[in-house]
Symmetry: C2
Subunit: 241 residues, 2 copies
């Protein structure tokens, strides 16, 4: 039986009750890092480099490299793009490497890569494909790691975790931890995915800077079959393809 | 408008996104520390001393002092009682001080006392009275701090947080953070409180040591009007009355 586990916030080795990831991890930052990362790949990008901090990202600045990310929802100084999937749709990124650094999603990905064997970026837009890929790769445990917002639980991520859990329990027999039970409960409470996304604190912050179109885009479920998977490192950067 | 906030796990000053408690905190460890603490007061105890570690608790050992607590669900060496409310019902504790140390609840209480102004121990059994007391004491923010189980989110605590939120939003106009929205969602999904409690990992551990009667007892909602409130410190111990 597959163990299905939902971590509602990233916890590092120094935190009480840290449990290493034994196997496969689905990293979720629905608003917006994992949604945006997916969009760059859909728009032709060759590779994604996820960087834990701005310095690591800026060090990659070069011809043919796109720097994308946010602090307080907006593009940091010296970056080419923000963290907006709608903005990423405006052009193609064929044969380009996109280097991303965001406040929550890239930190969650780094936590997952510390101990996990297979790391996948998941969002509502690729939920079904990401769950299928996790099922294919995992042998004992599938963990969903929610990025949250600045260290606080995010309704949008817990909802997405619930959608992923729902797919996974339809594919294979799973034991559910308390986090997975809570995520499934939240999933079942909302008929329209736009509702939990819109009610989240993350949505409020995004709307405050006029990017609310990103929220409706992020709420579209299973529109994409692309699944970003961790393939290695370049210094502190995590490479996904 | 009152800010209503649910922290699904204790976070200290060293953790990402730590937010100090601005005002009133309801500490929840339904299985079992806050349920048991309440029971000791109902059975006549004068004061509760909550200790973050066993050494602090053992240092209070003396005539007329009752040591109660658990590690791995069972009484630690040198303790008079475990962390079982059913066991606490077996006798009176009139004029006695009960010194408690448990794995999760006493740590959560310590986190709350670091920054909060008014700290209340809440469980399903005193949910209505605890919510009323919080409403009475708070001027700007009511936080529900869930103890969780060894650093992982607990279904039983998030459910209890939802019950407390439901009472609070019926008493006063509140803004809800994502944690409060998730807790309310979980609350509304279960008609019978015994269901989420029984499905929790904490319940599994308690059942494994033959104490499942504690779970049904902890699931009885608003049976008590006693509300343990933080009144001061004695060394590392937090005194509740």
């Amino acid at each position: 039986m597959m163990r299905l586990r939902v971590d509602v916030l990233p916890r590092g080795a120094q935190d009480l009750g840290f449990q290493p990831f034994a196997d496969t991890v689905l990293v979720v930052d629905t608003l917006r890092a994992t949604t945006t990362a997916l969009t760059y790949l859909e728009q032709g990008a060759d590779h994604l480099y996820l960087c834990p901090d701005l310095e690591t990202a800026l060090a990659f600045k070069a011809e043919g490299i796109v720097l994308a990310g946010e602090r307080n929802c907006l593009p940091p100084e010296g970056f080419d793009f923000g963290n907006s999937p709608i903005q990423a749709l405006e052009r193609r990124f064929d044969q380009q490497t996109v280097v991303m650094s965001t406040s929550n999603g890239t930190i969650a990905a780094a936590t997952a890569c510390e101990t996990g064997k297979n790391i996948i970026l998941a969002s509502l837009r690729n939920a079904h494909a990401a769950a299928r890929k996790a099922r294919e790769l995992a042998t004992e445990e599938i963990a969903v790691l929610c990025a949250g917002s600045n260290g606080r639980i995010g309704l949008e991520d817990v909802y997405t975790a619930g959608v992923l859990c729902e797919y996974l329990i339809s594919m294979t027999e799973c034991s559910l931890d308390d986090g997975a039970q809570i995520a499934l409960t939240v999933r079942r409470q909302f008929a329209d995915p736009l509702e939990p996304l819109s009610k989240s604190r993350a949505a409020e912050l995004i709307s405050n800077v006029g990017l609310e179109a990103d929220i409706a885009y992020a709420a579209e479920v299973s529109r994409s079959t692309i699944v970003p998977v961790f393939i290695g490192r370049s210094g502190n950067a995590l490479i996904f393809k």
